[in-house]
């Protein structure tokens, strides 16, 4: 064995079968390359300014904001699984809990990183904490995401400390031992924060009085999109987690969790998706028939511009909403792994499409009588930066899987599956 392999081996938990060092390196290499390239692109944007992107005064939000909204929705699995396990005591989901934490951490930290590139003056980002405008959804989002990111890091800490070498250091081990007793508290806090900022992310667009395509009726201080986003996020979270675990199983060729756990995830996803689709349909009807016309915008106009025809609405609600919901709820389809995964994929696509419509179509549509319908294609810098986040996710998850007890020890003792 080469020295590198020896060192590598030393960090892998005893009795865990992992790919050879060489194989693992080969797997990581392309992702690292992509990450490096993305970081270079982001560097360009930070150094030369956002003229490196294809965003403009009319398309002030682009690929990055879409990515942030999507990624954070996908990361909802983290808080929601924690919520299910610790608050609702759904113990059988415990095996996927650590995976959920890693996914969550990756998604949120990735989103924040991209945001830092997206804003024109990253060094002033902290001003939000100094002069916060309490009426802005974005303030709520900023506060919640920052707090929740801290929570996620803390939740990830115990998992990290379970690494074979780290736990040999007594103080680390003891801390982990003590800390993971209190993790339910964090899970509760995380759930609270997440419910809020997932909502606020929806609110971001629902409050845009100047953009009748996005503007929605308000309950109390929140537009309906606030609640729809929470619903869609907790609906897609489990599906995405399911896909991640399935992918991990496919790549490692091991059975990492019981099939029943995946089905359970699918079922939860399905039920919530069903509720979401119902709510979304009602909301859409109200918006098309009351909200929008009342400010002088005939609903059909929104769908008069290709490629954003009314088909997109159908796809969003029926094809990628109702259909997967049914597939996930029916026991017969859920029992088949193929159908289960297919439905999960549809669910994710549905939420992605929803975020896309809200971010991109909203800006593409004209508001003034003499506006045109706008087109926007992200520059390679934008795409590369986005790619870096994906690569970052894959790398962090791969490393975590290799060196940390993501799915508990195969030797079964799971009294120490640390959470989060």
């Amino acid at each position: 064995m080469s020295d590198l392999a020896i060192v590598d081996r030393r960090f892998i938990a005893r009795g865990e079968e992992r790919a050879s060092t060489l194989k693992f390196t080969l797997w990581l290499a392309p992702w690292v390359a992509l990450l490096a390239f993305g970081i270079y692109a982001a560097g360009l944007c930070l150094f030369y300014g956002l003229n490196q992107t294809n965003m403009d005064n009319r398309f002030a939000f682009g690929l990055w904001i879409f990515a942030d909204l999507s990624v954070i929705a996908m990361g909802a699995g983290a808080f929601f699984t924690g919520f299910l396990v610790y608050i609702l005591k759904q113990e059988e989901l415990k095996p996927v809990l650590n995976s959920a934490v890693v996914v969550g951490l990756v998604c949120y930290s990735g989103a924040v990183a991209v945001l830092m590139v997206d804003v024109g003056q990253p060094l002033r980002a902290w001003f939000t904490f100094w002069h916060p405008n309490t009426h802005s959804m974005l303030t709520e989002v900023t506060f919640c995401i920052t707090c929740y990111l801290i929570v996620l890091v803390l939740e990830y800490l115990p998992v990290l400390l379970r690494n074979r070498q780290l736990q040999k250091i007594p103080s680390f081990f003891i801390f982990e031992h003590q800390f993971h007793k209190l993790v339910p508290v964090l899970a509760a806090v995380g759930a609270f924060l997440s419910f809020f900022h997932q909502g606020s992310l929806g609110g971001l667009y629902g409050v845009l009085r100047g953009r009748p395509f996005a503007f929605r009726e308000h309950f109390a201080i929140w537009p309906t999109t606030f609640f729809l986003f929470i619903l869609s996020a907790i609906a897609v979270g489990p599906s995405f987690l399911l896909l991640v675990v399935a992918a991990a199983e496919a790549l490692t060729g091991k059975k990492l969790v019981e099939e029943s756990v995946l089905r359970k995830l699918g079922f939860i996803s399905g039920i919530l998706l069903g509720v979401y689709v119902a709510a979304k349909s009602i909301d859409t009807l109200i918006w098309l028939n009351i909200t929008s016309p009342s400010v002088g915008f005939a609903p059909w106009e929104y769908y008069a511009y290709k490629p954003f025809g009314s088909a997109i609405l159908f796809a969003e609600i029926v094809l990628l909403g109702l259909l997967p919901a049914v597939l996930l709820i029916l026991p017969r389809t859920r029992a088949r792994r193929g159908w289960l995964l297919f439905a999960a994929v549809l669910t994710c696509c549905g939420v992605l499409l929803n975020r896309f419509v809200l971010t991109v179509q909203t800006l593409a549509l004209p508001t003034l009588a003499f506006d045109d319908f706008l087109k926007y294609v992200p520059s390679w810098q934008e795409v590369a930066t986005f790619g870096a986040v994906v690569a970052y996710g894959v790398i962090v998850y791969s490393l975590s899987y290799r060196y940390l007890p993501l799915f508990g020890h195969s030797k079964g003792e799971d009294k120490h599956v640390s959470v989060g």
């Binding site: 064995m1 005893r14 309490t134 506060f143 081990f173 800390f179």
Partner: protein
């Protein structure tokens, strides 16, 4: 929004906002600090070593967790539930009373009846002056031979049973040797002296958890078997025991074996 920002004036939103996020931060911080506090407490008390050991024990492969009485042949099969701490084993007396078969086993190395053996391949020798000498047994010695580097705690430092007594490095592998008993270090030796530590016991001495007599042979035999399996070259016959004795300087002679695994099992360090 904060009072120290120019033109600030309180509104309901401010109160709500500040309260909520204040609470969140306080909760998170408290959780973190509380566990830090508890950790510090544990480290100060003696529990730390025990906690680490028990967690580590749980992760040992089952083959390394056999009860000493199985090794002595008193029982057929038993996995130790007490992390090798026979002092708290309610069945200890009962087992100890049982007769054991007389067997001749190829242990591959010599051992002495005067010494008390710890499952982490250290031995303890009670001295006349009430102190104890601690050393590595032959088995470990054959594996390691001459360590590249020795790292002892400073004199006067306390060691705890199952805690780390001292560290050695050999061919890039760090070896943590578990302490066989509680005590204070009086002197440190090394391979050349054939002993490593001289320890002044702390409190009443109870060495029940250390192996002696027939158990040692059984234990060493099973260890030898394990070693044979672990060091077997793929597709070749076991060729370690040369004329029934383990050949010396194994780590030097078989550099390509999976020493990480061997050492972890040998020194009970998962």
């Amino acid at each position: 929004m904060f009072p120290w920002v120019d033109g600030f004036h309180w509104t309901v939103m401010h109160v709500v906002f500040l309260t909520i996020f204040g609470l969140v931060l306080v909760t998170v911080a408290t959780t973190f600090l509380w566990s830090l506090f508890r950790t510090a407490g544990d480290l100060r008390s003696q529990r730390a070593a025990q906690l680490c050991w028990r967690n580590n024990f749980a992760q040992l492969p089952e083959a390394q967790r056999h009860c000493r009485h199985e090794l002595s042949g008193r029982v057929i099969h038993r996995i130790c539930p007490n992390a090798f701490d026979c002092r708290h084993c309610e069945l200890y007396e009962a087992f100890a009373a049982m007769p054991f078969p007389v067997r001749t086993l190829n242990t591959g190395v010599e051992y002495s009846d005067k010494l008390l053996y710890h499952r982490g391949h250290t031995w303890v020798l009670p001295e006349a002056d009430g102190t104890f000498t601690v050393g590595l047994d032959e088995f470990a010695h054959h594996l390691i031979g001459q360590p590249d580097k020795l790292n002892f705690p400073r004199k006067g430092a306390d060691i705890q049973t199952e805690g780390i007594a001292w560290r050695m490095t050999k061919n890039g592998h760090e070896i943590r040797v578990r302490a066989p008993l509680d005590g204070t270090i009086l002197a440190t030796g090394g391979p050349q002296y054939r002993w490593y530590l001289r320890v002044k016991p702390r409190g009443p001495v109870d060495l029940r958890h250390l192996l002696q007599g027939p158990e040692v042979a059984g234990w060493l035999a099973s260890e030898a078997d394990r070693l044979q399996i672990q060091l077997r070259q793929p597709g070749s016959e076991p060729a370690l025991a040369d004329g029934g004795t383990l050949m010396p300087e194994l780590m030097d002679n078989l550099p390509h074996a999976n020493w990480d695994e061997v050492l972890s099992d040998t020194f009970l360090d998962a």
